[in-house]
């Protein structure tokens, strides 16, 4: 096993309440720009129900993340919780699944952001430069300018992320604020000025009578992509000031905002436009919606383009931040090579992970441009990683209630059964069980209905597992067993570093009581 004799340079705690909120919002808020059209096209008039179904599972995921991220405020998110609860192997599997999402995040949102930027090109160049294409071998329609723009955007994000979390978090904060206002305006003015409840009701009734169940399932499984982002808050936990206090507040606010936005956009949208209109305009559903609002519609084109470009870029940035911190955490926990465990001496950011996984996102973008529709290809793969990772997080939440009842939980998921286990009282999470089944059902929907995702997703995880087994074998580490972790000592260090001294005292008291009950044995 490799030993770390040198003093580790840690990530600095720079993220504030607003920064933590916008970090998550930047990721989730952009998802609706891509998901709205896709979900309405699949679920037709039942799209609000599809969003609500996926959103209900998402709320439970959100509550689970809030509990775990405030209890274990370290970089890593879902993979760290799975590792604590289920061991190294499952921690790695969860990490691999979520990493797939983060790298697709970088790619899909950079592609989409560049697409919105191209909205302005006819006014400047007299033509849409995003449509300029070339042929290379069997690939006849590679949109070369759009591709180059996408790669430039990813390069820009790499630079600002290497320079430090303050700069990139600031970008999230500013853009997050603008987009919150703009999205709220579309919803508010849409309902007040243009919404026709009769149209909504007609489409709802028609869908109930005619929509096949598998189309609804496909739509609701796509809707889960509107809710991928809470992982980001827990990723930011190690860089958040007073995380035990901040994370529950930001997470709960984010859960509500995103849920209400997703259901509102689909409800207002289907009361203004027909579902067929959304299906014909998958690329810019929010712009189509804004354009149909009286008064606001006059400036709807540029308005929606700026809105889309900014929030999508912010979301892509969240992908860079999330993937780099996830892999940084995995390397620290002996799950991937320590070569990645390198902090920039000047900027204190995980420089190698930022570069490697942003380049992976760039590669995914490049490959997607070889297919007929880059956005379709990337979107199809998106939901698999999230649902697999979340399922493991729920299992970990339940297991950790039994394995680690001593760590203070600043927030605890509601609805618990008090049970006795090995002489101790444990809060059994009923909502955690429901959430686990809910997310597992969506994972089942993804495997059943996503043609690319059900192949590429598991293939990615299998390749990662092969890498993991080879790397662990080479380093003489247990393949399916666990490296020794002193979790108690680590928890003390984490709480000390986070300056959560009240929690630290509570934790040490709980351990002392346990040792006393066990006659001095831990």
């Amino acid at each position: 096993m490799e030993e770390h004799s040198e003093k580790k340079i840690e990530l600095r705690r720079d993220v504030t309440v607003w920064g933590s909120y916008t970090w998550g919002y930047a990721d989730v808020g952009a998802d609706i720009y891509a998901a709205l059209g896709l979900v309405i096209a699949a679920s037709q008039g039942l799209a609000p129900a599809a969003f609500a179904l996926a959103g209900t599972a998402y709320i439970m995921i959100g509550l689970a993340y809030t509990e775990l991220a405030s209890t274990y405020p370290v970089a890593g998110g879902g993979h760290y919780f799975a590792l604590r609860g289920l061991g190294d192997f499952w921690g790695f599997v969860a990490g691999a699944a979520l990493l797939l999402d983060y790298t697709i995040d970088i790619a899909i949102f950079a592609v989409a952001s560049a697409g919105y930027v191209n909205f302005f090109s006819p006014y400047i160049f007299g033509m849409n430069i995003g449509d300029i294409s070339i042929a290379i071998g069997p690939f006849q329609d590679i949109k070369i300018v759009w591709l180059v723009e996408t790669l430039l955007l990813i390069a820009f994000l790499i630079v600002i992320n290497i320079r430090g979390v303050r700069e990139s978090s600031l970008l999230n904060e500013v853009l997050g604020a603008i987009d919150l206002i703009l999205e709220s305006s579309v919803i508010f003015f849409g309902f007040v000025l243009a919404w026709n409840p009769q149209l909504l009701l007609d489409q709802w009734t028609h869908a109930i009578q005619t929509l096949p169940i598998d189309r609804f399932m496909y739509g609701s499984s796509l809707a889960i992509i509107s809710f991928v982002g809470l992982e980001s808050i827990s990723q930011a936990a190690q860089e958040t000031r007073r995380p035990a206090t901040v994370i529950p507040r930001t997470s709960l606010a984010l859960i509500f905002t995103v849920f209400i936005f997703a259901v509102s956009f689909s409800t207002v949208g289907l009361g203004i436009l027909s579902w067929e209109h959304f299906a014909e305009n998958l690329g810019d559903p929010v712009a189509q919606l804004a354009k149909a609002i009286p008064y606001l519609g006059i400036v709807a084109g540029p308005f929606a383009a700026i809105l889309g470009a900014t929030i999508l870029l912010t979301s892509s940035n969240t992908g860079v931040m999330g993937s780099s911190r996830l892999v940084f955490s995995m390397s620290q926990l002996h799950l991937v090579t320590k070569w990645l465990d390198k902090i920039h001496p000047r900027f204190h950011t995980p420089v190698r992970t930022i570069v490697v996984f942003s380049l992976m996102g760039a590669t995914e973008a490049l490959l997607s441009f070889l297919t007929p529709s880059a956005l379709d290809t990337l979107g199809n793969m998106y939901a698999f990683g999230a649902t697999l990772g979340y399922t493991l997080v729920f299992v970990s939440l339940i297991v950790l209630r039994f394995k680690d009842p001593y760590s203070p939980r600043p927030y605890i998921m509601p609805i618990n059964l008090k049970i006795k286990w090995r002489g101790r009282q444990v809060d059994f999470p009923v909502l955690g069980i429901l959430g686990m089944f809910g997310v597992s059902f969506i994972l089942f929907e993804v495997i059943l209905t996503h043609e690319i995702g059900r192949i590429a997703g598991p293939l990615w995880v299998i390749l990662c597992v092969i890498y993991y087994l080879v790397w662990r074998r080479r380093n003489a580490l247990p393949l399916f067993g666990n490296v020794h972790h002193d979790w108690e000592q680590e928890q003390v260090q984490v709480l000390t570093s986070a300056e959560e001294f009240e929690l630290l005292e509570e934790y040490q008291d709980a351990l002392a009581r346990r040792d006393k009950e066990n006659n001095g044995k831990p």
Binding site: A49, A52, F188, F191, V192, P197, L201, V263, D427
Partner: protein
Amino acid sequence: MASRKLLPPTQFTLGDKYRLMLATLSIVLGSIILARTIPIAISPPAIVLGLAFIGFGAYRWWLGLTRLKQLKS
């Protein structure tokens, strides 16, 4: 495993005013949705959404007033 309460506020901030404004807007929007939907038909998504906006607004008002009371005391 007890949940932790926030510290009582020390001043009525701009953030508090923003939250109360947002709460008022939510109640207005929820009322508009319900007022326009109910005369036509009971449309499940619209009714649920209208009630959700009103509920959210009422909750934020309750939260704001609680903070004000804490501040005064």
